[in-house]
């Protein structure tokens, strides 16, 4: 057996992230008093280096996969990495601020964030199911720890729940890989596709594999009925971690979802489209309806993220470039919006998780007009009201689904948006139209505000000038294999 050629260029972003994580870990052990600011700066440097390494791949002219077919090199990967890394940068800054204020600051936070990010980016570019599983585990294990990073009971409970259910879903995923191997004799995505296209593989086994992998992905993107963990984990995790996790995991998992289904299972598209259809429909409806009943803003946003997973799936029902392009735009808009929204939640709860009930938002516009304004913007984007990025994103996925002929699904989508508008609106009503009930003072520091200006700007700019990125996303929507 010949030794495969080792080209590290396409996984340089992950190498850098892991490298910086190790440096931070060692630094934490060896240097007595590490200034937290230094830790943030080093982490951000790591993320920036990874981003640079990843953007360099835009014009990669080597093979479509490297490292014996383990890692893909396409522009899709570049774009997804860019999204995940941006989310990570915001997440690191917010998390730093969060733990400094709550007095739970520990060195491990920063390397864990970088490791989770490395897992996410690797998940997005895996061209082999085994690599995908590896990446999935890297990101999941880091996130389990991050969820339980605070000593609050809720945080620990969330981590436990996430870990148990996550392990369960990993098992499904692994079982799916085994089935895929059984069906086609390979775990490499292009090889699976070839085997299925050439009818050399067993279609029955392949469909089973597709179903099992779908369960694994649905768990990670929190699509109904595999969403049970989401509200508890989102509520329990430290808010800054929730923001990072809800945006980053979803982007990475959807990227892998798209790649696996549009590449490996491309020959059995007719079999997986109905699966995605059903997942999308129930996620959109259940997420929107259940969110109405919530009284805690983090839980409400958790259910909202479930319904948004449904909207991305709506885009995925259109197999191929159109669906991928639409879903990518949706992910950009969603991740900017949701990390922003959780950022404001963090600011409002001031220290730790004290004020996350909706009643704490009464009269916020009076006490902190900036926080209220930012949260309104993010909520309107989640509701899909123009001129925000959320609106353009919705139109894009509706278009993709209409093209695929699934207009009843689009009808479900638009009607659920109206239902969803109600609970987003309720928060705006509280902030602007009610008098403060409790004596809560939001966090007045400048750092989170400045950080949150970034996603806020993106939400508006991509809402008004979507053309700025649509061109890139269209080029990235082609999966090369």
């Amino acid at each position: 057996m010949p030794t495969p050629s080792v080209e590290l260029g396409p996984i340089l972003p992950e190498v850098l992230l892991v490298g910086f994580a190790i440096v931070l870990l060692l630094g934490g052990v060896m240097v007595r008093r590490l200034s937290p600011v230094a830790l943030v700066l080093v982490s951000l440097a790591g993320i920036a280096a990874a981003a640079a390494a990843s953007l360099w791949l835009w014009d990669w002219d080597g093979g479509t996969t490297v490292l014996a077919g383990a890692v893909a090199t396409d522009r899709f990967g570049v774009v997804v990495r860019a999204i995940v890394l941006s989310v990570a940068a915001i997440g690191v800054v917010l998390g730093h601020h969060y733990f400094e204020r709550s007095g739970e600051s520990r060195v491990e936070f920063y390397p864990l964030m970088l490791l989770a990010t490395a897992g996410m980016t690797l998940f997005a570019v895996s061209a082999d199911l085994i690599t995908a599983f590896l990446a999935l585990e890297i990101l999941s294990l880091s996130l389990y720890v991050l969820t339980g990073f605070s000593s609050r009971l809720g945080s620990v409970e969330g981590a436990m729940k996430y870990f148990l259910l996550g392990a369960f879903s990993s098992a499904f995923f692994l079982f799916g890989i085994a089935m895929a191997y059984g069906a086609t004799g390979s775990t490499r995505l292009p090889a699976i596709a070839d085997a299925l296209a050439g009818r050399t593989g067993s279609v029955a086994l392949a469909v089973t594999a597709m179903g099992l992998l779908a369960v694994g992905f649905a768990f990670k993107v929190s699509a109904v009925p595999f969403h049970m963990w989401t509200p508890d984990v989102y509520q329990g995790a430290p808010t800054a971690v929730t923001g990072f996790m809800s945006a980053g995991t979803k982007v990475a998992a959807f990227a892998a979802f798209m790649r696996v289904f549009n590449v490996s299972f491309q020959p059995i598209t007719w079999d997986w489209q109905p699966v995605v259809w059903v997942l999308a429909a129930v996620s959109i409806v259940a997420g929107s309806v259940l969110a109405i009943a919530q009284t805690d803003i983090k839980r409400m946003l958790a259910y909202s993220s479930i319904s948004h997973a449904g909207f991305v799936l709506l885009g995925l029902t259109a197999a191929g470039e159109d669906g991928i392009g639409a879903a990518l735009f949706y992910l950009v808009a969603y991740s900017a919006t949701v990390i922003g929204a959780f950022g404001v939640v963090m600011v409002v709860s001031a220290r730790g998780e004290r004020h996350t009930s909706l009643s704490a938002y009464a009269g916020l516009a009076r006490r902190s007009p900036v926080a209220a304004g930012l949260l309104s913007l993010f909520l309107l984007s989640l509701a899909g009201i123009p001129p925000t990025a959320g609106f353009v994103a919705k139109v894009a996925v509706f278009r993709a689904a209409t093209e695929a002929g699934y207009w009843p699904l689009v009808l479900i989508g638009v009607l659920a948006s109206v239902v969803a508008a109600y609970f987003y609106l309720r928060v705006i009503v509280l902030m602007f139209m009610r008098e403060p009930e409790e004596d809560t003072r939001p966090d007045e520091s400048w750092l989170p505000r400045v950080t949150l200006a970034v996603p806020a700007t993106l939400v508006v700019v991509f809402g008004v000038f979507p053309g700025l990125i649509v061109g890139f996303l269209d080029q990235a929507a082609v999966l090369r294999w």
């Binding site: 009201i385 001129p387 509706f398 638009v414 609106l425 309720r426 705006i428 009610r434 979507p466 061109g471």
Partner: protein, 521 residues
């Protein structure tokens, strides 16, 4: 000169000013907003000056690629339908700003939202790109929602949420239809487009066309509002602050009939013919129902709100007669309703500021105390009930003539709306301003010069339109003739739509246009 872009976005200039000028006193904030709104009005007059009355199609068209790969463009243009609505919007916004001079809290935000609303309304009247229209149409909701919910009266939160959800539910269907049409353009024309001039080239199967018509119709029917989708309106109008009521009644409601005229008739002529009878009946039901309910109100704002339901019925009736008189009358009536209902809300607001009640039974004899308010209310009342010589008469007359031409029964029933209007409006006037005065309103301030300065121009325009409607109608008629010819060229039950036919059509026969062009009798 990009007149249309200028007029749409000029109000936005005020927003950073109001946002950053944190030291501005309340008066300074109001003045800043007023200056911006007046400047916008001047630009709107510039648009009117640049408008060529002889042309039936879109004028002053500006097109900039927005997202080329998606076929999305920033495309605005004006024609005989939108020109007056634009002028009306720019004219009534300063009036609205003056009307809420007394609002004392969060003035900067209030004024910024008013200007934002103006931009969104102007944008939806001028957009010729379906998605751009939708963006403006939907963007209206948020500022209006906040204006009602933050500065409204007792049940403001309920009213604002109801307004938002109702309208959003309606436009959800619109979005679905727009996306479908977008998809069809890329299938049939080979390139995706939201340009309505492209979309009207599509040939759509009859059934598809009818479903799409309904999707558009629901969105606009909620806005108009057409009976039975009107239930949000009395709440929203009543609870809104005066400023909000004026913008809502005078301007925002016009987006509904405008949308029907611009999009439903234009894109789905066969379906328009098919549903015309049903919609005509709904319109007439709305006319009579609105009038009857208005008669029963003791809350004067609610009364005016229900009178809007009745008056908007005329507009819808006119549009679906498919006659030049009816269509021109409907457009004229939109402008008229904006002016007279705007004035009514202004006066009612002024009255409320002084008496702190909207209940007619607590008023009475106010004509002696506040003669200016009484006079302004009387003018608005007389206009509302269609007194010849004032603006409303012309519009209603044309609509009824049009309706008689197509369906005598509908026309006859619609006339009763005029009679009922006389009853409820005059009765309201009597209860508020005549009879024995109530003790506690012994000393009330009359209109101050600032308010007089807002009322007088509105009254002057109402008189001018009543006496010389030709000024307005001349610019509306070519567009009316064009759209009527288009709709009439297609038979109901015609299968499939002849793509691209619209361009080959001339206006309807000259006689019919001539009748309207002569103006009011």
């Amino acid at each position: 000169m990009p007149w249309l872009t200028l007029v749409i976005f000029l109000p936005l200039v005020g927003i950073p000013v109001l946002g950053l000028w944190s030291r501005a006193s309340d008066v300074q904030a109001r003045v800043a907003a007023l200056v911006v709104a007046l400047a916008t009005f001047l630009v709107a007059l510039g648009v009117l000056g640049a408008f060529d009355p002889a042309v039936a199609g879109y004028q002053l068209v500006e097109q900039v690629d927005w997202v080329p790969s998606a076929g999305l463009s920033y495309l605005v243009g004006v024609d005989g339908f939108s020109i007056w609505l634009v002028v009306l919007t720019a004219f009534m916004t300063p009036v609205a700003i003056v009307s809420s001079w007394g609002v004392g809290h969060r003035v900067r935000l209030f004024m910024a939202l008013t200007l934002l609303l103006e931009t969104a309304i102007l944008g939806s009247f001028l957009a010729l790109d379906l998605l751009l229209f939708f963006v403006f149409f939907e963007a209206l909701l948020v500022p209006m929602f906040l204006v009602i919910g933050v500065w409204g009266s007792a049940r403001r939160v309920y009213a604002s949420v109801k307004f938002f959800l109702y309208t959003m539910a309606g436009s959800a269907f619109l979005l679905l239809a727009v996306v479908y049409l977008w998809f069809q353009t890329s299938e049939q024309l080979g390139h995706a487009s939201f340009d309505i001039r492209q979309v009207e080239q599509l040939s759509l199967a009859t059934t598809t066309q009818r479903w799409l018509f309904l999707a558009f119709f629901i969105a606009f029917a909620v806005k108009v509002p057409i009976f039975p989708l009107h239930t949000w309106l009395p709440d929203a109008h009543t609870e809104a602050p005066t400023n909000g009521s004026i913008v809502l009644a005078a301007l925002l409601l016009k987006a509904g009939p405008y949308g029907l005229l611009r999009f439903n008739l234009d894109l789905f002529p066969e379906a328009s013919r098919y549903f015309a009878d049903a919609i005509g009946i709904l319109a007439v039901v709305g006319i009579v129902y609105g009038a009857l309910v208005a008669m029963m109100q003791t809350d004067v704002k609610r009364l005016v709100a229900f009178s809007s339901v009745s008056h908007m019925g005329f507009v819808i009736l006119g549009i679906f007669t498919f006659t030049v008189q009816g269509t021109s009358g409907a457009v004229m009536q939109m402008v008229n309703h904006g002016l007279s209902t705007g004035l009514l809300f202004f006066v009612v607001g002024a009255l409320y500021e002084r008496t702190h009640t909207r209940d007619l039974s607590e008023m009475g004899g106010l004509a002696k105390v506040t003669p200016w308010i009484a006079a302004a209310f009387l003018v608005a009342t007389l206009s509302s009930i269609g007194l010849p010589g004032l603006n409303n008469f012309v519009g209603e007359f044309l609509v009824i003539v049009g309706a008689f031409g197509t369906d005598r029964v509908l026309g006859a029933v619609a006339v009763s709306g005029v009679v009922l209007a006389a009853i409820y409006m005059l009765w309201a006037y009597q209860r508020a301003f005549q009879g024995p005065g109530s003790e506690r309103h012994g000393r009330l301030a009359d209109l101050v010069p600032r308010e007089i300065a807002a009322v007088v121009p509105v009254v002057a325009v109402m008189l001018a339109l009543g006496v010389y409607p030709k000024l307005v109608l001349d610019r509306i008629n070519p567009s009316s003739a064009g759209v009527v010819a288009w709709v009439r060229s297609v038979d109901a039950d015609q299968t499939g739509l002849p793509g691209g036919l619209r361009a080959q059509l001339g206006p309807v026969d000259a006689d019919e246009v001539a009748i309207v062009a002569e103006g009011s009798p």
